[in-house]
Amino acid sequence: MPLMYPLVFAAFLFSAGVYGVLARRNAVMVLMSIELMLNAVNVNLVAFNAYLRDELVSGQVFALFVIAVAAAEVGIGLAIVLLIFRNRETVNIDEVDLLRW
């Protein structure tokens, strides 16, 4: 498979994530869009790893770390969103506006 396919796919995935972060109001949806971006990175890393025939499999190892860190990030992100929801009954980021953006 040419390297171009996964790279273009990852670029689309990343762009979809960026769009989601910028366009969504719901903090949980923003979180999911960030996950899309991270997974686009994983596709890239694994594709490059295969293309380069990297003997150290750096790309795959990196992808594992990205997955693990993404899980930790989601954990903290959801915790913060829950905290806000308990106090304000909303998770819409444009309604959380005590401080000016």
């Binding site: 190892v61 594992l64 997955i67 693990a68 899980a71 930790a72 989601v74 954990g75 959801l78 915790a79 829950l82 929801f85 308990r86």
Partner: protein, 120 residues
């Protein structure tokens, strides 16, 4: 390619679909229709069904538990590659993985002690 090899699978699919459709149709005709309240309530493994009034979301504690699950669960991805090369890494790998799992254990103990695992 010999498509004949897929014939049993196709037959299986058709049979399964036919059985599903037939059961629904037949039971609709033959079964007695005497609804009660209990029959219409959701089945939740014998637990008293929790009410979710209109527009209400799941209680926060479900999210908390799910979050903890995700955080602890994903750490397993480091165990798989280790398991693949377990023999070559030998004692070195065992010690390293011991440190890793030990740190997760400490996080778990912390979570437990601070009440992160309490349901109520």
């Amino acid at each position: 390619m010999n498509l004949g090899a897929f014939a049993p699978i196709l037959a299986m699919l058709v049979l399964a679909a036919a059985f599903a459709v037939l059961s629904i149709v037949v039971s609709a005709f033959l079964a007695p229709h005497r609804p009660t309240r209990a029959k219409y309530s959701a089945y939740e493994s014998g637990v008293e069904p929790g009410r979710l009034p209109q527009g209400e979301r799941y209680p926060v504690k479900f999210y908390l538990t799910a979050m903890l699950f995700v955080v602890f669960d994903v750490e397993v991805i480091f165990l798989y590659p280790w398991a693949v090369v377990f023999r070559q890494l030998g004692v070195f790998g065992l010690v390293q993985m011991g440190i890793f799992v030990g740190l997760i254990l400490i996080a778990y103990i912390y979570d437990w002690k601070r009440g992160g695992l309490e349901w109520d």
